[in-house]
């Protein structure tokens, strides 16, 4: 009976059977814990012995390396061109103003140099003129420009004109300011209180006078013809 017990399914008394099996399981667990053998450990082979970190100091093989070929820097242009920007300016000024008349006109030491507050007349290559009160003169070599302000058809117009521009045919002084301006830049003339308004009347007078001078009726020497002495003409200094 006892021998057949495990192979047969009991029809009853499940409780006792389950208890028995539980006890067996516990027994197995205990046993397995007690008798578990440790897996055979295969230790890694000992690392090869490192070479001494000080061997580089003692090593003399690197002294026999080939030397890297070096080349001398290209010759410096600094001594050849000590002032490249000035050279560049002079080159362009010579090209744009071959006779130097614009340079002389806007030279600070020229007694007839236009000041801010003067009325200037610029004639362009296309033929159309623009006249206005000079508010500002920017002297930057070949980048020299003048800011003219005028009033055309009741609208204020301002124009920066580059003096050396090839589009500019002539710059003429129409009328000097009565008093020297006490500012370098006359931006306050944009305000209605100080606005000079239209310069049409002054330009008309100037052009009339210029026509008379050129035709020789006034008996005054043409300042443009007497180019030898440009400072002789007090008003109407032109640069062409």
């Amino acid at each position: 009976m006892a021998s057949t017990a495990p192979s047969l399914r009991p029809l009853s008394s499940w409780k006792g059977l389950l208890r028995q099996s539980r006890q067996q399981r516990t027994c197995i667990r205990c046993l397995s814990t007690a008798l578990a053998t440790a897996p055979a450990q295969s230790l890694p082979p000992p690392p090869p012995r490192l070479r001494s970190p000080f061997r580089i100091l003692n090593d003399t093989s690197h002294t026999s390396l080939k030397r890297i070929k070096t080349y001398p820097p290209p010759p410096s242009l600094r001594n050849k061109f000590p002032h490249p920007v000035d050279d560049w300016q002079a080159y362009h000024m010579k090209e744009l103003d071959p006779r130097g008349s614009r340079t002389r006109l806007f030279d600070r030491y020229n007694p007839d140099v236009p000041h801010v507050g003067d009325i200037l007349l610029v004639t362009f290559k296309t033929g159309d003129p623009f006249a206005g009160v000079c508010l500002s003169i920017k002297r930057r070599g070949v980048d020299t420009g003048i800011l003219l302000r005028s009033r055309l058809t009741l609208v204020g117009v301002e124009m920066w004109v580059k003096v050396y521009s090839p589009n500019v045919k002539a710059v003429e002084v129409v009328k000097r300011a009565e008093k020297r301006a006490r500012r370098g830049k006359l931006y306050y003339m944009r305000k209605p209180k100080h606005d000079k308004g239209s310069v049409e009347r002054e330009v008309e007078e100037y052009l009339k006078r210029r026509r008379l001078i050129r035709s020789g009726e006034l008996g005054v020497k043409d300042p443009l013809k007497s180019a030898k002495n440009p400072s002789a003409a007090r008003s109407g200094v032109g640069a062409r």
């Binding site: 117009v157 124009m159 944009r190």
Partner: protein
Amino acid sequence: MLNCIDNSGATIVECVANLRMKRHGRIGDRIIVVVQKSRSIGDSGPGNASAAAGNKVRRGDIRHAIIVRTAKKVQRKDGMVVRFDDNACALIGKNGEPLGTRINGVVGAELRSKQQSKILSLASMHV
């Protein structure tokens, strides 16, 4: 707000969109404007046909326009810089033809490069 300098009847218009890009307008740009002030129709009497013909737009109209003057400086290729004291425009129709028959006042010469020669020729002066 811009001045309108043609004889379409509008005097002051407000810019509501720039058709070039979502950016500030420059001379020659096409913009959409709303007429804010126009010359009154009743001034010379309802029977006056010329006054009615002169007023092609009335207040509240939405129109296209071309900018002809800007207070912002405009630099040209040759280094010249031009600025005007006000912003102004001229109204145009849908086909691009100016609404007015005359433009009173100076306009910028940039209109030529922007293919607006018709406005340039109508203008009394260009700079």
